[in-house]
């Protein structure tokens, strides 16, 4: 261990200098053979980010590998055991290095089949992109794809790193040709700046030091560029103030603070702010950062603020500059990047998270799909894994937003599957859709409670789900007879009265089945609003669709009844002869035969029809309904 004498006198100066570094996040994009891992390994090595023991390991591993004893820098960044075996990177990895001027975080994303998902993920936090091109191959389809994806997430400055210049004898003609090709192609993407640099990741030319082998090049080294490129934060501070409220801090009755990370703008104590979407205004009373108070705070800082007035603020609200607040809407046009194996289904309900707000959302239509290789638009009825398209969204709550171009935090969102909880899409809000603006939901003095009380009951939606032949209709009829005898007002929705009228335009494809259930759920909701007890008897095989129906109703109003019969039993009953036809191949997409049934995980009522008679089951459910009493009287739901 050295005695550090070289640094001994100026360690304090060193500390002070390194306390005041800034931070740049960037992404590298390239195809499998463009030498991306080698370039990143080289950056780490040249900036001294690789510890001595890892260099020793690198020398050992390089001797064994394919680089013939030369240091193989790609070995520094190939992380997981699975990748080492396959010789490819499989996911987004983050690497860290620093120079005197800046700390850097680089997102390393693979260039093969999961490229779109991984690249969008890596690029979402990046401020600039290094787009790698093999000097021998020039601009490839992948280069176009990467450039489009980078522009899609809003990166405005890119480096065109033309790599492997050593393999084309550092020929300036090759370099200039590729630069011209790229600039022509990239014009519609609207980058603010494209900086081409001739490099060799393997040999280090123009990475940290200007290469003697490119005397014709007078631009910056790659590191020089990365140290000088402007930061996104510089422009964000000049935008209108926005802060998504993550939580309310309430240590005692005298303090009520709202916590969040400022995503744009600057605030001062005394500034007028607007709570969105409610629109109420107040002034900033205190700005708390860490253990002390500030007079002012800016984009990027995590703070807690208190307001001068007692206004209602909760998680998911956005605090904004009072004079230039975000718009609020519930219908949007957005760009979606689909990231799940299960395709996007129009009409299905998902969760949408934007800022600190999570709301239910339905994709109501797809305007077009973008071919990421040609940038052409194609009509589409669904989006598959790694596909990108412009869609219309309907949220179940008025939500404040800015267009993504104006503010990433109030315009960028993710979609989450309601059943698997997976993150299934990333999206960018573009604008509010005006179409529905003229429909206002007036607060009616005659409301659901009033209507239901007139009928001496509480609204309910009994949702009977199960295989064909499980006994849903039989059970629904028994329940309705009992309820009628008790003087209740009811209605049954089933295939017989819905399929022949309201939904006669729908077939049995997956998309049509989703739409079928969506319409039934909406009708049930209206009937519940009219004060009725609605019985819905549909196979409704998909969990997500039943969850959508549940989400439309008030808490306690939706009662999921799983009418459970094993397939063999239902098939043996076969009251309409449908199983026989399905087995014979005359009926396609028949639930239980060639289309799945997803049983409820936590139904309110589970009827095992092999053990319980329809009458006993009906008794049980009617008791449950009758115990609920009247609305506004005993208050408790089921």
């Amino acid at each position: 261990m050295g005695d550090g004498s070289l640094l001994h006198t100026d360690i304090d100066a060193w500390l002070a200098r390194h306390q005041s570094k800034d931070l740049l996040r960037f992404i590298t994009c390239g195809s499998v053979d463009d030498g991306k891992s080698t370039l990143i390994g080289r950056l780490l090595y040249d900036t001294g980010a690789v510890p001595d023991d890892e260099i020793a390991r690198l020398e050992r591993d390089s001797a064994r590998g394919s680089a013939g004893g030369e240091l193989d820098f790609s070995l520094l960044v190939d992380g997981l055991a699975a990748e080492r075996e396959q010789g490819i990177t499989i996911d987004v990895a983050y690497r860290y290095f620093a120079t005197e001027a800046r700390k850097f975080i680089v997102a390393d994303t693979p260039g093969h089949e999961q490229y779109t998902r991984n690249m969008i993920t890596g690029a979402s936090t990046a401020e600039t992109a290094v787009i790698l091109v093999d000097a021998r191959k020039g601009i490839l389809t992948q280069t176009r794809r990467h450039s489009y994806l980078v522009s899609l997430v809003g990166i405005r400055r890119v480096v065109l790193a033309i790599n492997k210049m050593d393999l084309v004898d550092f020929d300036p003609g090759v370099f200039q040709r590729i630069v011209a090709d790229y600039e022509a192609f990239a014009r519609p993407l609207g980058f603010d700046a494209i900086t081409p640099i001739p490099i060799s990741g393997r040999d280090g030319d123009n990475i940290a030091l200007i290469s003697a082998r490119t005397p014709w090049y007078d631009g910056p080294t790659l590191l020089g560029y990365l140290e000088a490129v402007p930061l996104a934060a510089d422009t964000l501070a000049g935008r209108p103030f926005r802060m998504a409220v993550q939580g309310v801090v309430r240590p005692d009755l005298n303090f009520r603070g709202f916590s969040g990370q400022i995503s744009a703008g600057v605030i001062h104590v005394g500034d007028e702010v607007r709570v969105c979407p409610s629109g109420r205004t107040s002034q900033i009373a205190r700005i708390i950062s860490g253990f002390g108070d500030l007079d002012t705070a800016r984009a990027g800082q995590s703070v807690t603020v208190t307001l001068a007035d007692e206004v209602d603020v909760s998680r998911g609200d956005v605090l904004a500059a009072a004079g230039s607040p975000p718009e609020s809407a519930e219908r949007f046009v957005a760009t979606l990047v689909w990231m799940d194996e299960q395709p996007l289904v129009i009409g299905r309900s998902y969760w949408l998270k934007v800022g600190a707000r999570t709301v239910a959302v339905v994709v109501t239509g797809i305007d077009h799909r973008v071919d990421v290789n040609t940038l052409e638009h194609h009509p589409a009825t669904r989006l598959e894994l790694n596909e990108i398209g412009d869609v219309a969204l309907r949220l179940d709550q008025i939500t404040p937003f800015d267009p993504y171009e104006a503010n990433v935090d109030t315009g960028g969102f993710i979609l989450i599957d309601r059943v698997t909880n997976a993150t299934i899409a990333a999206g960018m809000l573009r604008s509010a859709e005006r179409r529905a603006d003229n429909i206002h939901w007036h607060a009616q003095t005659v409301d659901k409670t009033a209507r239901a009380r007139l009928k001496g009951q509480r609204s309910a939606v009994l949702w009977l789900t199960g295989l064909s032949g499980a006994g849903k209709s039989t059970l629904a009829n028994r329940i309705e007879q009992r309820l009628l005898a008790e003087g209740r007002h009811t209605y049954i929705l089933d295939g017989d009265n819905v399929r022949h009228g309201l939904n006669k335009d729908l077939g049995f494809s997956e998309a049509d089945r989703v739409e079928n259930i969506r319409r039934v759920a909406e009708v049930a909701k209206l009937m519940a609003d009219a004060g009725l007890i609605v019985l819905v008897a549909f196979i409704s095989p998909f969990r997500a669709d039943r969850e959508l129906a549940r989400s439309l109703m008030e808490p306690g109003e939706f009662v999921e009844v799983f009418v459970d019969a094993p397939l063999a039993v239902a098939e043996a009953r076969d009251p309409k002869g449908l199983y026989r036809k399905a087995r014979a191949g005359e009926l396609k997409n028949f639930t239980g035969i060639d289309s799945p049934y997803e049983p409820p995980l936590q139904p309110e009522v589970h009827i095992d029809t092999t053990l319980t008679s329809p009458d006993a089951a009906a008794d049980r459910i009617v008791r449950l309904i009758e115990q609920r009493g009247l609305p506004g009287v005993d208050g408790d739901g089921i």
């Binding site: 800034d22 001294g48 997981l80 996911d91 983050y94 860290y96 800046r102 700390k103 975080i105």
Partner: protein, 316 residues
């Protein structure tokens, strides 16, 4: 290119006073992550390992909720083989901050007398750390656990999400990770599933030290050089912290000026010879001798993929 002062570029671009510094940005991000976890999870807990990363993470958490206290307890998984100084520091630090501290030891391992000398590092780590952690999370029903791990520590960490999803068996599935975009974290999960949350994911070892220096965060004395009794085994200096350590015949502890770069079970944690007794002196040593901090950890050496394997099994 191995200049110790890391100077690379010809020109130096100083951060303008209008810009947040890298430490300010890292702190703001960590606060955001911690607040998001508290908002979206029912019962979070902070894994407190007493080391410098834990110290920095806990300091950030104190800031995140000020003037309130962090709304979660601390949990220490005690293998009973930690340095005695760590336990003293742990108890006094939690008391000073006014936070609830939970301590869990695997009772089965304790009854079976599992220890690093008798059972080896692999068995000891599995029973007394991995299994013990799972027991503790299940016992208290925690659905999210903060850890101080950083992505620069180790190759498999570099690919792990900030909100790292674990199935009901606490296992990590590297191929089934949720995409993590912008600063939007998906914390949704079913009952029995849980999250490991790493607020310091984007910090490096140097960032942590700089932050500790800038914020005056107290640390156990073990991080600073002092004369300590050590023996050398397989090239690693092991401190004789108590009389449970069996000495070979002819093996006598020697007093050496040493410090520790990471803290863990004393029989598994190598010391480095050093005279650095202050944080600037430690930084100075780091800049002149660059070995990775995990080099001192006996448990990582078994095989190249050892950490990934342990994580799949539920190690933090």
């Amino acid at each position: 290119m191995s200049d110790p002062d890391l100077s690379i570029a010809a020109g130096t671009v100083a951060a303008s006073p209008e810009r947040l510094t890298h430490l300010q940005r890292l702190e703001a991000e960590a606060i955001h992550i911690i607040r998001e976890t508290v908002a979206e999870c029912e019962r979070p807990v902070m894994l407190y390992s007493i080391g410098k990363d834990s110290a920095a993470m806990l300091h950030v958490a104190m800031k995140a909720f000020h003037p309130a206290k962090p709304p979660f307890p601390l949990l220490h998984v005690d293998t009973t083989w930690k340095f005695r100084e760590m336990i003293r520091f742990r108890d006094s630090h939690a008391r000073n901050l006014g936070l609830e501290l939970l301590v869990h030891t695997n009772p089965d391992g304790l009854a079976a007398g599992v220890g690093p000398f008798t059972h080896g590092s692999a068995v000891h780590t599995d029973i007394m750390k991995t299994q013990a952690l799972k027991q503790a999370l299940d016992k208290y029903g925690f659905d999210a656990a903060f850890g101080g791990a950083r992505r620069d520590e180790e190759a498999s960490r570099a690919k792990e999400r900030i909100f790292s999803f674990r199935n009901a068996a606490h296992a990590w599935e590297p191929k089934a990770q949720r995409p993590e975009l912008w600063r939007l974290y998906n914390a949704r999960k079913h009952r029995g599933e849980s999250l490991r949350v790493f607020p310091l994911s984007n910090w490096t070892e140097l960032d942590v030290w700089q932050y500790i220096a800038a914020e005056n965060i107290p640390l156990p004395d073990l991080y600073f050089a002092a004369e300590r009794p050590v023996v050398e085994r397989d090239g690693t200096l092991i401190m004789v912290d108590d009389d449970r350590m069996p000495l070979a015949s002819g093996e006598t502890p020697e007093m050496k000026s040493v410090r520790f770069r990471t803290l863990g079970c004393y029989p598994l944690t190598g010391a480095v010879e050093s005279t650095a007794a202050t944080i600037p002196a430690i930084l100075q040593e780091m800049l002149t001798s660059r070995t990775s901090e995990r080099q001192g950890r006996v448990i990582d050496r078994d095989q190249a993929a050892s950490m990934e394997k342990k994580k799949r099994e539920g190690y933090f």
